[in-house]
């Protein structure tokens, strides 16, 4: 398959070309960069929605319910579902599709599972790159689902234009998301499994916590919504709230600032990746050994490598 032909083909709705293009950007290196350069001018229209929350909160099921609601409204939906890579073997079992069966057979939906891998450029880059391709393939909403369990995941949420944090009742007395720093990144809270005991309490706690947070006049106030994702209940209100958030970003002129911040992160990550690639010359292994032996310090060695690479 000729990589340069992939972009026009995926724009024309060729799903196989899209799937192959995502593999290429996931693998990285010069072919990935060429592909992204070709896709970039055709992207930018999609609304990126990050969905995150603790394991078992029902994220995949909620993503399915939301995708169905968007489909009812005639919106094409791309989904990137991220699961962790095993730090021991480098392999992964990606099981999010199990809960997304209801979306099968619909050409207006494209689902891609992604392993977090040990990425130098960061997982946020890999998902953002895949989102560029889905965007170029004219998917109007791109949902990125991750387990909210660490900095990498919070970064992904940040790359999205709207971030939805999913909670469930009965996870203990205090809301776990505060610990993970997700209170600050959420544009929207969803208390899923709201038919369970304690859902009201979880909603109240989240609202109370949000009232304590500093609040600028005119700023977006994250709503706390409830859902029973297995029954599709609450999906319409969530989709409405995402639309309101998108309109808010537009009206306040913050969409531009958001795009600017996202662009800055993307550029920084790209510089990092290319600098590292160029620094990995013949002297690399030798310097690694000398740093390990404590004959050199890592910063001094980095200076030497960057100078040698002409950076």
């Amino acid at each position: 398959m000729d990589p340069s032909s992939l972009i026009p083909r995926l724009q024309d709705g060729d799903r196989r070309a899209l799937a192959r293009a995502i593999t290429i950007v996931e693998t990285g290196g010069p072919p990935a960069r060429a592909l992204l350069a070709a896709a970039y001018p055709h992207a930018g229209a999609a609304h990126l929605v990050g969905i995150t929350g603790p394991p078992g909160a029902g994220k995949s099921t909620l993503v399915t319910a939301l995708a169905q609601e968007w489909r009812r409204r005639g919106v094409r939906v791309g989904i990137i579902a991220v699961d962790p890579t095993s730090p021991y073997s480098g392999g992964a079992v990606l099981g999010d599709r199990i809960r997304m069966q209801a979306l099968g057979g619909d050409p207006g939906v494209f689902i891609r599972s992604m392993a977090s891998r040990g990425r130098l450029g960061g997982l946020a880059r890999a998902t953002a790159d895949a989102a560029v391709l889905l965007d170029a393939a004219r998917f109007q909403v791109v949902l990125i689902e991750t387990v909210g369990a660490g900095q990498g995941e919070v970064d992904i949420a940040r790359a999205a234009r709207t971030t939805v944090v999913v909670e469930v009742p009965g996870m203990g007395d205090d809301v776990q998301s505060i610990k993970a720093g997700m209170l600050e990144v959420a544009d929207l809270f969803v208390v899923n499994k709201a038919d369970r005991e304690g859902a009201d309490k979880t909603v109240r706690q989240l609202r109370a916590m949000l009232h304590l947070a500093p609040h600028a006049p005119g700023a977006w106030e994250p709503p706390v919504l409830t859902a029973v994702a297995t029954a599709g209940q609450g999906a319409d209100a969530i989709v409405d709230a995402v639309a309101r958030h998108a309109a808010h970003l537009e009206a306040r002129g913050v969409a531009g600032a958001h795009a600017h911040a996202a662009a800055e992160r993307e550029l920084a990550a790209a510089v990092q990746e290319l600098a590292l690639e160029r620094a990995r010359g013949p002297a690399w292994e030798d310097l690694v050994a000398r740093v390990a032996a404590r004959e050199r310090d890592p910063y001094g060695a980095a200076e030497e490598l960057l100078r040698a690479a002409g950076i």
């Binding site: 693998t27 073997s89 392999g91 079992v93 990606l94 599709r97 599972s113």
Partner: protein
């Protein structure tokens, strides 16, 4: 970054026993592969669609219901229709030697691993054959 071997593990048909499929999924993960597990009761159409979207190198089909002579050839036929005959298809489950020979000779199934196959042997086979026909 080197490209990882991506494998779709699926259960076509109606039997509800996925222990074997889960053991295989785990063994492949431990061998450093990325395994997309799609769960029970998959139609051939669903399997091929998932394989397409996930751009996998390998499809592993686990089937215990006895419907393998209907369902497995249908998967490989649909793959061919999509131009995806470079995807390696292997099967596991309760499949007689005679059926296994037919599936391999006539229906594009690369290997059949019956009960008692070692995960070692399966990993080795996939490592050697996966992704050879592509790119």
């Amino acid at each position: 970054m080197e490209r990882k071997i991506r494998v779709l593990v699926a259960k076509p048909g109606l039997d509800g026993h996925d222990r074997g499929a889960k053991v295989i999924a785990r063994a492949l993960r431990d061998a450093g592969m990325e395994v997309i597990y799609t769960g029970l009761q998959q139609t051939p159409e669903m399997i091929v669609e998932a394989a397409l979207q996930e751009d996998v190198d390998v499809i592993g089909l686990s089937i215990l219901s006895g419907a393998h002579m209907t369902l497995l050839p249908k998967v490989t036929r649909l793959l061919k229709e999509q131009g995806m005959d470079d995807v390696l298809v292997v099967a596991g489950g309760i499949i007689s030697d005679e059926d296994a020979a037919t599936l391999k000779a006539q229906h594009g199934i690369a290997a059949v691993f019956g009960p008692g196959s070692s995960t070692h042997e399966i990993v080795k086979f996939i490592r050697e054959k996966a992704g050879v026909a592509r790119d």
